[in-house]
């Protein structure tokens, strides 16, 4: 028999997993572009590393949401809470915003980062603006995280 816990854990796993995949892909895309620039000019390592790190936040947001679920369920150093199927499903759905948006926005932020890395390679004085462009994409991951937090907070267990 499936109890609510399984659904809740699925939600937590999706949040951590999908958002993590999005970040991994994004950081990967940015890293490929960065490695190309570094072969030409190794002195830009600091700036490039910064740009590569930018799409890494989705994974953190996912981890955060998943962790929040675990705290809520009392699985982390508390007394485990009994939840029914309906509550489990509620938690699962609450996790979806950060999971889905994290996956997709991570990839797109990675692409924007890669483009910005190209911009830094040609015009190093524009680093400041180059950082802002990928941050525009991240807005939606932050909003999704916000939605997940508020949704989770509204579920009574």
């Amino acid at each position: 028999m499936i109890d609510g816990l399984a659904f809740a854990l699925l939600g937590s796993a999706l949040a951590i997993g999908l958002a993590g995949i999005g970040s991994a892909m994004g950081v990967g895309i940015a890293g490929e572009a960065g490695a190309g620039v570094l072969t030409e000019d190794p002195n830009k390592f600091g700036q490039i590393l910064l740009m590569q790190a930018l799409p890494g936040t989705q994974g953190i947001y996912g981890l955060l949401a998943g962790f929040w679920v675990l705290i809520k369920l009392g699985l982390f150093g508390g007394t485990p809470v009994e939840i029914n199927v309906a509550q489990g499903l509620q938690i699962l759905f609450a996790c979806l915003p950060v999971a889905i948006v994290g996956l997709v926005s991570g990839v797109y932020q990675g692409r924007t980062s890669a483009a910005s890395i190209g911009m830094i390679a040609r015009r190093p004085e524009e680093t400041g603006r180059a950082i802002i462009l990928p941050a525009m994409v991240e807005t939606y991951a932050v909003l999704a995280l916000l939605a997940t937090i508020l949704l989770l907070n509204s579920i009574q267990v």
Binding site: F45, I60, L64, G128, I132, I149
Partner: protein
């Protein structure tokens, strides 16, 4: 306000004073020389030294610096290559630079060429060696491959399964041939084949049928492969030794790096000097220097020129309308820490408002909300202030570090307010430290972990404040320019409208009286906006429609406000990751003996990671809120920065 007032200066002087005046001005470093007003005269001063010559020297010096960098024995760390320490020098020492770099430059060129030769020789020898190792087992001297008067000999390499077919075919044709077999590499066999000269063609046909071809040597060799290999290895060893000796010698040249850098900057400032000279205009007897200077520095310019001689006149005037005036920002030292943000976005026009004081306050607070933890803030603030005070780095890097440090101070404030001290670590202190827990809880105003809504509303409230400040700045700007209608109808009306909407929403939640006061203002605002926003249209119906349409801007204000919810989300995120660090660490805490150590290390690594990522996020998102949500209300960039004529240096800091 905080954009320095500029004056346009023109100096007409006798030619004999030109050099002296330029020397004085470069020394002073307050005047940006421009080459406008060309219509006054039509001849330019040609520089006394070829600029091309200086550019060649700069090129040679940067070649030398690259050479040193390439062969230096210890590579620079990231910190050093990111924040190089400047070379401090007295002005007199700098200007009397007499480093004769040419002999070293020539040596470097020679070495580089020698190294390149060695490298290409090594490549060739290594590929020969590789070839020889393939046929190492052949015991016949390779010069015999050429053949004799009546014979031809060649070497074949093929897989053993072709052996029978080959033997059969050769038998079929009844050729006179001789062979010796040696084991080859990769399971192949090697045949040394000798045939009579007259049967060469028949042999080639046989080989073609079996799609085999004789092994061809990359170059003629003498001796057996084994002998050749020994010889090659010996020569490679010699070359490698020579190479490492040269590289060692090259690495020693690091000691001249400082001299090269000083010489580079010396020629760079000379170049700047003569480059400026090309911007001067001249007549037969006089030359004309024009440029921009900060109003307060004007007496300095006059005083320094008067030291040179008497044959000059200076006039100055205020900038004309539409003239592109260079911009220099002037703020008090606290605000100045944040000026890097304005520079990153782009400087304001000369006639604009300098946003830095507002950006400084908001960024300080926003960064604090995003990082949102007392201990993280403390670490960031301490390391930032200490690094800025103690490290020998450029001034702009110091400003940046101090900006981050002040962000850390913001985080201390906000963290106290939300009760985040390394997440919830302080709740787990042993009873002996319980006073700290009491202190933490006593100072906490909002607990976003258990009740996130108040903090979210607070974030949006902060956002509304910034948006309203932005609109107010637009009102002030238009008012100052005399566009009273635009100021009142386009900006002030929105300001009042938005304030009344906020009042109404707050009123619904708190006091019905406030709501009932706000409602008529909202209705008035709507009517006013519909009535005025269509004033550019001629047709009365279009006037009404475009007025109505302008209310749609409310959506964009709403979007802007919601965007500030990130302050809450990011702040909560760093707190929760901090809790995660504590929880993960405590999982190991129960292990015997070294459990506490593992717990400490795990927690520390996680906290460090969180500090770095949350710090990055706090910087990026706080800056974004300034640029996207705040600046679009009033700000126009496009100013060019004020670059006074002085000693332009890359490595040296002149004192």
């Amino acid at each position: 306000m905080a954009i320095s007032a500029m004056e346009k200066v023109g100096v007409i002087a006798h030619h004999s004073l030109r050099k002296g005046i330029l020397d004085q001005l470069q020394d002073l470093g307050v005047l940006e020389i421009t080459e406008d007003e060309k219509d006054l005269f039509d001849e330019f001063v040609s520089p006394s030294v070829e600029l091309g010559e200086l550019e060649r020297r700069l090129g040679e010096l940067s070649y030398c610096l690259d050479f040193i960098d390439k062969y230096r024995s210890e590579k620079l760390g990231i910190a050093q290559s990111l924040f190089p320490s400047p070379i401090h020098m007295e002005k007199e020492d700098f200007l009397s630079c007499s480093f004769d770099y040419i002999p070293l430059y020539k040596t470097f060129l020679d070495w580089e060429e020698e190294l390149n030769n060695i490298r290409s020789n090594l490549n060739r020898l290594n590929s020969n060696l590789e070839f020889m190792k393939k046929i190492q087992s052949v015991e016949v001297p390779l010069e015999n491959l050429r053949g004799t008067l009546y014979t031809r000999s060649f070497l074949l390499e093929f897989p053993p399964k072709k052996k029978e077919a080959l033997e059969e075919k050769l038998k079929e044709r009844n050729l006179a041939w001789l062979r010796e077999e040696f084991p080859g590499k990769g399971g192949n066999v090697l045949w040394w084949v000798i045939i009579h000269k007259s049967e060469e063609e028949a042999m080639e046909e046989v080989l073609a049928e079996l799609s085999l071809s004789p092994v061809s040597l990359p170059q003629p060799f003498e001796g057996t492969p084994q002998e050749i290999i020994e010889d090659l290895e010996h020569r490679i060893g010699e070359l490698q030794e020579e190479q490492s000796k040269l590289i060692e010698k090259a690495a020693l040249q690091e000691k001249f790096e400082k001299e090269f850098k000083i010489a580079y900057d010396y020629y760079l400032s000379l170049w700047e000097r003569y480059q400026s000279e090309t911007k001067l205009l001249k007549t037969k007897e006089t030359c004309y220097i024009s440029g921009w200077v900060k109003k307060e520095d004007l007496p300095l310019v006059e005083e320094s020129i008067s030291q040179v001689g008497k044959e000059w006149v200076l006039y100055h005037r205020e900038p004309k309308e539409g003239e592109s005036v260079p911009v220099s920002l002037e703020n008090n030292s606290w605000v100045n820490n944040f000026s890097v943000l304005t520079h990153l976005y782009g400087l304001p026009n000369y006639t604009e408002i300098d946003p830095t004081p507002f950006v400084a306050g908001f960024f300080f607070f926003f960064f604090g909300m995003c990082l949102g933890d007392v201990i993280y803030g403390l670490v960031l603030a301490l390391s930032g202030f200490i690094a800025a005070a103690c490290l020998d780095i450029s001034d702009s890097t110091k400003l940046f570090l101090r900006m981050l440090a002040w962000g850390g101070v913001g985080a201390i404030l906000v963290g106290t307010f939300t009760g985040s001290w390394l997440g919830d670590l302080f709740d787990y202190f042993p009873p002996s430290l319980s006073f700290l827990t009491t202190l933490k809880n006593g100072l906490m105003v909002i607990d976003p972990l258990n009740n996130p809504l108040p903090m979210l509303i607070f974030s949006l409230g902060v956002g509304i404040v910034q948006i309203l400040v932005g609109i107010m700045l637009a009102v002030m700007k238009e008012w100052k320019r005399g566009n009273y209608a635009v100021a009142i109808m386009d900006h002030l009306s929105w300001f009042i409208f938005l304030v009344s909407i906020v009042m109404y929403i707050v009123g619904i939640a708190v006091s019905p009286l406030l709501a009932s006061v706000a409602l008529p203002i909202i209705i008035g605002g709507v009517i006013f906006l519909v009535a005025t926003q269509g004033r550019h249209q001629k047709n009365p119906i279009m006037k009404f429609l475009s007025g109505l349409l302008s209310l749609y801007d409310l959506v964009s204000y709403l979007g802007d406000t919601l965007s500030y919810s990130r302050l809450f989300a990011l702040g909560l995120s760093s707190t929760i990751i901090a809790i995660l660090a504590r929880t993960l660490g405590s999982l190991f805490g129960g292990y015997p003996y070294i459990g506490w150590l593992i717990a400490l290390i795990v927690a520390l690594v996680f906290h460090l990671f969180n500090l770095l990522m949350s710090g990055l996020g706090a910087f990026v998102h706080s800056a974004r809120l300034q640029y996207v949500e705040f600046f679009n209300k009033f700000y126009e960039d496009g100013g060019k920065s004020f670059k006074p004529f002085g000693y332009k240096t890359k490595y040296v800091k002149i004192s």
